[in-house]
């Protein structure tokens, strides 16, 4: 049964790709779907790009197992969209063309700035993708019984096909379809769970007090007993990181203007918020009707909570549907990541830095396609090697790098007159390396107990997520770099940037 649904998803996405390929002839179509998406379409696609299998299966599972603590982080993932809406989305749309680096290069047009911005994009997208692929392999193994390598290869081949043939158009529509399926599936299960509690929140919470081994603690913060600073550090990464995630930022180039970009963030925020609220029903439902033991038995991290709940409520059919939704979710997210990383390689490195803007349209298209294949091959290979490692922390690391490296420079570029090339380069490099080095010596990588982390040893830093330190370091180093190493740059250029960013005025208007 599950297999049939999987094949349906594969067939549907390949049909989308077939039609999209007819509309993917130019670089603008490849990178941005020609900028022709409506606010609603892009809003759904942003939601589809953002709500990963980690949010769907992972958060439902952690709520089922740890109650409030499991729900807690979804708030950070949502509030992050206020930073996107208030600060980043519109200037980005007005200044950029295909990539995040375009926006910064709109002010500092030089190879170093573009190169560093592209490096940061590739780092973030690769980390994020490895975590997604490793998760995908494990999930498909759980859901379908295929072995890990086969599962990762299937996902790898599909994402490459979507991107090289259908570019941004196929990626967007796969994300839209996935978002609709995910919202529908989650809504259906939520209503079924809520009905069991006679549609009463009070009854539901009352029941949950005794439904799990945690007892009353289940409903209180701290059941998972996270260290306070760690908790706050991770929250900083989540809230500030989203506005620097390249695969989210490139979505704003798919609409025609800043007004549409704004609308798409608002729609996405509604959808993502409603989705996270519904994960409470999924988590509570799984804890109440599947039971803690059965969830842990199927998968220690709780990833099977949602599919098992579907089975308990609606039998094999509903479970197969939920598994297929999870599969679609994985595909939509990885396709967006391939595109983000490939555009940094092909558009920033190849077209701008190596060919200095002189590559023909045909050469650029070819580069974009080769880059997509390259990105896919590298990340699939890394994912195959990482099978036995616990790489879930790579997602929060990606948010952390985005918050420490990209966000400070984006903000200074659009708001600070005295900012300059040296500041942008220093800020991005220092932010990036601070985050990476701090994670490399953190408890994620080193653990005194052999086998618990990637390496055995005592971690030098106790924070599992370095954002508490690396985000201020990112802001400070960009500032100090600009003050001490930079020369004042053209005022006229800043005038151009603020006028364009804030009015959307264009040369060809």
């Amino acid at each position: 049964m599950a297999f049939t649904f999987f094949l349906l998803i594969v067939a549907a996405t390949l049909i989308i790709t077939y039609y999209a390929s007819k509309k993917t002839n130019t670089t603008s179509e490849f990178y941005t779907a020609g900028g022709g998406l409506t606010g609603w379409q892009n809003g759904l696609a942003i939601a589809g790009d953002y709500m990963s299998a980690a949010s769907f299966l992972g958060i439902a599972g952690s709520i089922a197992l740890t109650g409030f603590d499991g729900f807690f982080f979804s708030i950070g993932y949502l509030v992050a969209y206020l930073v996107v809406l208030y600060v980043v989305a519109e200037p980005l749309r007005n200044l950029g063309k295909y990539t995040m680096a375009d926006m910064i290069a709109a002010r500092f047009d030089n190879a170093k700035v573009r190169g560093v911005a592209a490096l940061s994009t590739i780092t973030i997208s690769t980390f994020y993708m490895i975590a997604q692929l490793v998760g995908a392999g494990a999930l498909i193994k759980l859901l379908l019984g295929l072995d890990y390598t086969t599962s990762v290869l299937i996902v790898g081949v599909l994402m490459t096909v979507y991107v090289i043939f259908g570019g941004m158009t196929a990626t967007s529509w796969v994300q839209i379809v996935k978002a609709v399926l995910l919202m529908f599936g989650t809504f259906l299960i939520s209503v079924m769970v809520f009905a069991k509690f006679n549609f009463s929140f009070i009854e539901m919470f009352e029941h949950m007090k005794t439904a799990t081994p945690l007892g009353e603690k289940y409903l209180n913060p701290g059941a998972k007993s996270a260290n306070g600073l760690d908790n706050i550090s991770l929250n900083i990464a989540l809230v500030l990181g989203t506005a620097g995630l390249p695969h989210i930022l490139i979505r704003f180039f798919t609409v025609k203007d800043a007004q549409t970009a704004r609308k798409s963030v608002v729609y996405a925020t509604w959808l993502i918020g409603l989705f996270y609220i519904m994960t409470i029903f999924l988590g509570f439902g799984a804890a109440a009707f599947v039971g803690n033991d059965a969830i842990v038995q199927a998968n220690k991290a709780g990833n099977m909570a949602a599919p098992l709940l579907a089975k308990a409520l609606g039998g094999d059919l509903l479970m197969a549907f939920v598994a297929a939704v999870a599969f679609a979710t994985i595909l939509a997210v990885v396709a967006g990541l391939v595109l983000a990383a490939a555009s940094a390689f092909a558009h920033d490195f190849y077209s701008h830095i190596i060919r200095k803007g002189k590559a023909t349209e045909k050469e650029q298209m070819l580069a974009a396609r080769y880059a997509s294949i390259g990105v896919a091959v590298i990340s699939v290979t890394l994912a195959l090697f990482a099978q036995k490692m616990n790489v879930a922390f790579l997602v929060s690391l990606a948010f952390c790098v985005a918050a420490s490296s990209n966000l400070p420079v984006i903000i200074y570029t659009i708001f600070w007159r005295r900012f300059n090339t040296a500041g942008a380069v220093t800020g991005m490099l220092v932010g990036l390396f601070t985050a990476l080095v701090m994670v490399a010596v953190s408890p994620n990588v080193f653990d005194p107990t052999p086998g618990k982390a990637i390496l055995t040893g005592t971690p030098l830093v106790s924070l599992t997520n370095p954002a508490l330190v690396s985000v201020p370091v990112g802001f400070l180093s960009a500032y100090l770099g600009a003050i001490f190493f930079g020369r004042p740059e053209s005022d006229a250029k800043f005038d151009e940037v603020i006028v364009k960013a804030n009015t959307g005025i264009r040369e060809s208007a």
Binding site: V79, L82, E206
Partner: protein
């Protein structure tokens, strides 16, 4: 001075725009007014939502006040958490409304530019 025959669609990050005198717009009263209005709105709102948001992890990490029940078995921690969702959606709506007024100033600036005059 302004000429709109310019249909340079090359990379926006690339060449300097020849058609529009951006510095003149940046110095104009209307643009300064727009920037002022934006700053007066965006900065306090961002401070507000950051404070509102981080209060929750700080309170749940360092105190137990939010563990008291509010409605039935639903504790204040949950109420605060739901409050964050309401806050996010409300700020989205407020932003949209406010941004429409920024749009109309921005459109006036663009129109003046297109008419070819500086005021």
């Amino acid at each position: 001075m302004a000429n709109l025959a310019q249909t340079n669609t090359s990379d926006m990050g690339g060449k300097r725009g020849q058609g529009i005198d951006y510095s003149a717009i940046a110095r104009s009263e209307k643009f300064k007014k727009l920037m002022q209005a934006k700053k007066r709105f965006i900065v306090p709102m961002c401070i507000f939502f950051m404070v509102f948001y981080y209060t929750l992890p700080i309170m749940t990490s360092y105190s137990k006040v939010l563990n008291t029940p509010a409605i039935g078995s639903i504790t204040w921690a949950w109420i605060y958490a739901f409050g964050q969702f309401i806050m996010t959606w409300a700020l989205c709506m407020i932003y949209t409304r406010k941004a429409n007024s920024f749009d109309s100033i921005a459109n006036e600036i663009i129109e003046e530019q297109q008419k070819g005059g500086r005021n």
